[in-house]
């Protein structure tokens, strides 16, 4: 048979890791991008450069950086150990790696989306008696939503595809930390082309469907 897959663990794990990473990225990225889209302060350029850095750094640099933080002898390694938490070489490390590399995509898209909302809409809502919280949820967020969603999809795709940093901090433990990209790499290395082909097909079709659906959705917006 052309396609064959005996172990679905990498597929399930990849989706789980990407979903959690994107959720974290959304929860931190949305308020942060909103804040920095309006706030001016000295050193803002430095902060933004740091946020964007993971997008351009090689995965091995990010992986090494994460090892320096959460590794056994890393900055937080002892603290985590004292708390009884092990992150390194668990699937949570894969979540961490995916979060770090996909965060800049979310941040950039969301910030551009917030900046694209005409401030007059917010001013008009203010003159109509709306509180700032109400304005955010009824005016700013709905108008910025298409851009934010695009950022979410990009982040999700990036998180699904994360390879280098994940291998360094989570390792390649089948059934535990082996995501699709890692499974493909090691399947090819061991000559198991059937498994590699199948995983490549699943990954491609899945990513295609997500992007296709989002584009369709964006097109259907009434305004």
């Amino acid at each position: 048979m052309f396609l064959q897959l005996t172990d679905w663990c990498p597929v399930i794990l990849s989706i789980k890791v990407a979903l959690i990473a994107v959720t974290i990225v959304l929860i931190i990225g949305l308020p942060l991008s909103r804040l920095l889209s309006r706030l001016e302060f000295p050193g803002k350029d430095v902060v933004e450069a740091v946020i964007t850095l993971p997008m351009v750094l090689p995965p091995s640099v990010i992986g090494y950086g994460l090892l320096m933080i959460i590794g056994k002898n890393g900055l937080l390694g002892n603290t985590l150990a004292d708390l009884g938490l092990t992150v390194i070489f668990t699937w949570w490390a894969a979540v961490l790696a995916s979060t770090v590399v996909s965060f800049p995509l979310m941040y950039q898209s969301a910030k551009a989306a917030f900046l694209s909302v005409n401030v007059n809409y917010e001013k008009a809502a203010r003159t109509l008696g709306a509180s700032e919280v109400k304005i955010f949820f009824t005016v700013t967020l709905p108008l910025a939503w298409p851009g934010i969603l695009a950022g979410l999809v990009l982040s999700f795709a990036r998180a699904m595809g994360e390879f280098g940093a994940t291998m360094m901090v989570a390792g390649n433990i089948p059934g535990q930390t082996q995501t699709i990209p890692l499974a493909i790499y090691f399947a090819v290395e061991s000559g198991d082309n059937g498994t590699a082909r199948t995983l490549v097909a699943i990954n491609t079709v899945f990513s295609f469907l997500v992007i296709y659906w989002v584009n369709r959705w964006a097109k259907k917006q009434k305004y």
Binding site: N118, N120, K123, A124, T127, G129
Partner: protein, 231 residues
């Protein structure tokens, strides 16, 4: 009754206007960059003035001496934006109803107007389920007016309301605004750089130049006039 003294430092000049306005239409006239929109923004609380005071119907909205600065949402000042600023993701109905659910309106208004009737008055009652992008310029303006008046403001500010309209719609809407003003009996302040509009609508006209009223610029056009202090 609106009493205001507004001083606002801008980067190339200082805006300085002192005025009293009864239930009339005041036209602010002047070239682009003369400080007209900034003046409206200060009244609405959309930007912070440097000093002075604003009193609307005996209520202090701003006072630098008493350190009072009521936020925009509690000022009860209606604002018609130059680009109308209708929320593009809401229908006409949702736009007009937007202000009604806000806190201050739940207990302050004795005889609430029905915003849907307001739309009928303006001849756009049949457009309830349309989105702003599906409206013509004149329709947008009428909806924006209905939205601003639905919260029953004590003062209505209109920032170049005709700039996006063709001549015919403009002449029609000018008359409508005059009629609405006669009906509502609240002070209107209208910004324009069109002399014809100023002459047609203004009970009083105030010409601004580099943020300061031009001496002798107040034209008394109707009989029961109030004084506008000029310096």
């Amino acid at each position: 009754m609106l009493k205001a003294k507004i001083t606002k430092k801008l980067w190339h000049f200082t805006l300085e206007v002192e005025m009293e306005l009864d239930n009339h239409i005041l036209v602010l006239w002047g070239h682009s960059g003369a400080g007209k929109t900034t003046f409206l923004h200060c009244l609405a609380g959309l930007c912070k003035q440097s000093s002075g005071f604003i009193q609307l119907n005996e209520r202090t909205l701003y006072s630098s001496e008493e350190r009072i600065n009521i936020p925009t949402r509690l000022r009860n000042v209606g604002y018609l934006f130059q680009d109308y600023a209708l929320f593009p993701h809401m229908t006409v109905k949702q736009n007009v109803m937007y202000g009604l659910k806000n806190h201050r309106h739940r207990h302050q208004i004795e005889n609430p107007v029905n915003p849907l009737e307001l739309l009928n008055t303006f001849g756009v009652g049949h457009l309830l389920d349309r989105y702003p992008s599906q409206l013509s310029g004149g329709e947008k303006q009428r909806v924006a007016l209905a939205r601003a008046l639905a919260v029953q403001p004590g003062l209505l500010l209109l920032d170049e309301p005709f700039s996006a309209l063709d001549k015919n719609s403009k002449i029609k809407l000018r008359q409508e605004i005059k009629d609405i003003h006669a009906l509502w009996q609240i002070p209107f302040i209208l910004v324009t750089h069109d002399e014809e509009d100023a002459g047609f609508l203004g009970d009083r006209i105030l010409t601004l130049n580099e943020g300061v009223p031009v001496a002798g610029s107040v034209m008394h056009l109707s009989s029961n006039m109030q004084r506008i202090a000029i310096y």
